[in-house]
Symmetry: D2
């Protein structure tokens, strides 16, 4: 089955290549990059030597349609997919958008947080939010899947059992989240230089991060009530990995949190609830599509603490996009996504 | 003036040497280490070549008394100072203890958290808790100063203005704290190997960390009411540095938080309140005695978010100990502690 | 096909598990660890959750024989395999030894460098040195394969074409080699702590490293003449990866070095010669069995400079061991070893 | 005494500020940065809060002359000082140039390696090469000092005793050098992102690096004969630090290398020869102006191996510039440059 990648030279695009190139059931028919058009993928990314003989192309819609792709990934900056995807969608090509263009159902909210007019509100309402753990039923038939953000994936999976069970105060939520630097993309920015970011740590965007409305929208679907979330992102001096430390005030203290989490995720192939007392490390999911969770109730007090780790480029981006692709194309949901993390 | 260091081969001991060896007003009369007794300090720590010709000695009380030291630092594991300090104190030698032995006023609480009987309860009540920003008046005349823990320093300095002003709910406090690996000491432990801890991140001791009772004790001094703190420590893959991200629910939303913080710390030489909207980086205090703070109120909601950074080995340990020594010996409080951070 | 792993809790043992556990053609019948006997593998190594339900066992020879294994890996410290392997070998179980016990053909040299008497000289001469690129013909029928050291693999693959072609002075060789910290194993040692090794760099064992005689032995097989190698290992603050920078004085300057390398390795599945002017990065082989090479002749002078990178745990240890196993068991040489490096 | 800094926002400029701002004998009268003109230094570099109230200015020559500076540092990209320094020099202002503009005595060689016409050949011959260990006599009276490159400093100090003694073959020299990322400057470049450079290692510019002619020029001054050096730079995933591993073939094997090094550097305040068998670590010079050396002769063979470490921003740039300033202004050579390295 043929698929294509638009925006193949950023971190999520290259991660799609890493995950898809070795597969025998999938053929990557094209990969585009405006900046690198005309150069071989493996001269830019020597780790793919032997796996990918493709040349970066321009993202020409006609060529894409002619390529015979059944599904196209957009691994582009925000604002691109909403302009280019409709042509493909109308021609019957299915789309998984890894950007934020179709994640927020309220277009006005999107426009406020992303600082531009939305080019394609009509597809916003037809898009399916691609978190399989909460929207699995709708993904197989979706024409357009809005792949969740990296932070939102871990925060949602962490809070989900508490909110569905209705046992925490929905206005008391805190997500103290830490991300490796690949979350900022592959653009050349001084604060992301090794000389600036290594051996240091900081919060950023405390006043308001674009993932806040996305998370609140989805948490409100889980809960019957309005959500108030304090979301604090931090920059970790690591390459890959998100660790979300989540806090919620329990309003029902009789529930066994460990069982609640184990039951909720018993059938999920990519959510792993650790035994009581555990502390998941980001490296245990390095390179894999797993979100690993632990739940605590320190001192037996009324605050639940959930620890959630994921690889921001895999379950937080390209891996989840492949999981969605698998569901959309009728393949095994786990196809191409089963291998142990690279530890140490 | 002569001082001595007991336990000079751990990270806080070596940091005391780094801070004190270049000073001309202080003479280090001895430095002990059971494990390294008889070897020159600078063969173990070549960074001190040219600054320190001392030989590690055994911690022999008679030799210490004979050395003429007016003040001795204990940079030893918990449980040592409470056994060895009393002899010195009774002989009139003043003591700054960098361990936890004299930090908790309630001996029963100490014994529960530290898993041993306290050897010297009578000095617990005479000890002064060595956070100058809250106990400055008592330090100059103290015989024994209990130097605060690394996490407690940043968490207290971060919450202090809010609690003194009485504008947050004292049972709503959350401290999501992240520490570099030197916080774990210089012992050889597998989880602290570069191969284990680098390029990864995790929480630890979520069920209960020994710094929790210390922090709660001191926060209750600031507040009129009982404190309930959720304290979550994390391990950062950096060498030095603590970042505490603090959350509290505002009960009075009319206070200008920025002014509150600026006023409270206007005269403090080692607390630096950043301008509104700032995000302090741990590297900006690398090697220095400064705690740098920023205060936020995201989305104008009712949760205050305070960001506090310090160097866990300096303001979180040896630097604060030197600050206390300066106060005890009648020196300028900032003596030997003024130089810019090593950035980049 | 059943295989076993003796010494499964060190880095090379866990790496064998990572490579073998997902395979469907191989069943890991047992994994031993004296220290961890009785505990589940995946409680110690959560990255293997879902891939491995084994419990660490004691390395009991009878149980091993009863397990039905056709091949056993020794991922043990030096000195273990030479004592335990003979029993297995005599019972017809084939062995891949990842330690140094059977690498040196001259037992006296081995005893001098490893500081102990050799327990099993008779198997030394029957062992095949497991570098497929130079000993492929002998490996399929070998009872005992001595898997090469991590440094020796990269240094040999780098020098091989030059020495086979006889175009460099064999007494002029220099190998300036740099290794990530996993090369030192998983033992708890102070110099390998993140707090000690991160953000720093040093040489070690300049006076003589145990890999020197191994490399010289094999380079002399390639060359007709005695070899004199200056070998300088360094410790890199990275988790995985070796970079060997190799220098040799050309005695025949008319040879096209690029073609020489490309021809020599044209058929090798795990040696990748980069285009002229390239600089291989260790990360491009992270997690893979590839050794990536580039050859230079700076300023057109008479010194050849070869750059060789490998993952010390894969091509430098467990991956090469699996490559040898594949050859010994008549499987495709590349089975289980084909996937792109984890980049970024 | 007043001094100025042109180009204060790059790493060497900021390092000059770190070293000079706390000094009481030096007043920084201005610091320029085209990009940041008009902004306070400490808003860009919060680590300088409390040490520097300066505002970045434009590098206006008239203002500089009016400022009353006796000495100006150029911490600018190559090609700037040769255009701007002459005006200052002719007005009697002394200059320390941290760029490469005046380092090569052969203007044609400079133009070939730096790819541009030299704007000021007449000052090239009047410039003094600012390595105090070899040019100390000429520096106090120099109008213009060409501060050495980072790699050249460590390579020269490492080879100096061997070449002065005439005991190595001058056409056999190899410098395998490794530098932290600050050596590449503060420009935003993708390969210097933490996500690209961390947890990896590579050589670069093997075909020819601009420091090669500089090193060869100076090594030829030390030796009576032409030098042939193979120079291989590598990128270390650390912030600061250079480690040069140097190789030379001994032509006189009777000399005691350890004594040779100790004697040569006995009076040097910033060169530290370690005891026999040592391996200097870059972190032992972190933040300091010291070059630390060890000399080996592995296996008693005929190759000398010298290990040299320095902080590329201090002894390799700003610290050496301050050392030169001290000599030029008649201050103690070590003024402002004596403090222990930041370890750990």
């Amino acid at each position: 089955m043929k698929v294509g990648i638009i925006g193949g030279s950023g971190y999520t695009g290259v991660e799609l290549l890493r995950l898809l190139a070795p597969r025998e059931d999938i053929e990557i028919a094209f990969v585009s990059s405006r900046a690198l058009a005309g150069t071989r993928v493996d001269t830019q990314f020597p780790s793919l030597r032997g796996f990918c003989e493709l040349v970066f192309s321009d993202p020409d819609p006609e060529a894409i349609l002619a390529s015979g792709c059944r599904l196209v990934f957009f691994a582009t900056p925000n604002g691109t997919a909403m302009r280019q995807a409709p042509t493909l969608l109308e021609a019957g090509v299915r789309v998984v958008d890894l950007s934020a263009d179709f994640r927020l159902r309220d277009v006005a909210v999107w426009e406020r947080w992303y600082g531009q007019e939305h080019a394609c509100p009509e597809w916003v309402e037809r898009a399916v939010y691609g978190l399989p753990e909460t929207h699995r039923a709708d993904i197989p038939s979706a024409a357009l899947v809005a792949n969740p953000g990296c932070y939102p994936t871990s925060v949602q999976l962490g809070f989900l059992p508490l909110l569905e069970a209705g046992i925490v105060a929905p206005d008391s939520l805190i997500a103290d989240a830490k991300s490796g630097v690949t979350g900022a993309g592959r653009g050349a920015q001084v604060p992301m230089l090794l000389a600036e970011a290594a051996d240091s740590f900081k919060a950023y965007a405390v006043a308001g991060h674009r993932h806040l409305p996305e998370i609140e929208q989805e948490l409100e679907r889980m809960s019957a009530e309005p959500i108030e979330l304090t979301f604090t992102p931090h920059l970790l001096p690591i390459i890959r990995g998100i660790h979300a430390t989540l806090y919620a005030r329990l309003v029902d203290e009789d529930v066994d949190l460990q069982s609640l989490y184990e039951r909720r995720y018993a059938e999920e192939p990519f959510v792993d609830v650790l035994p009581p007392g555990s502390h998941p490390e980001t490296r245990t999911v390095r390179g894999t599509n797993v979100c690993r969770l632990a739940v605590h109730r320190p001192q037996g007090r009324s605050t639940a603490v959930v620890l959630a780790v994921e690889d921001n480029l895999v379950k937080g981006a390209a891996g989840q996009a492949v999981q969605n692709m698998n569901l959309m194309l009728g393949l095994a949901e786990t196809a191409g996504l089963r291998q142990p993390a690279l530890v140490p």
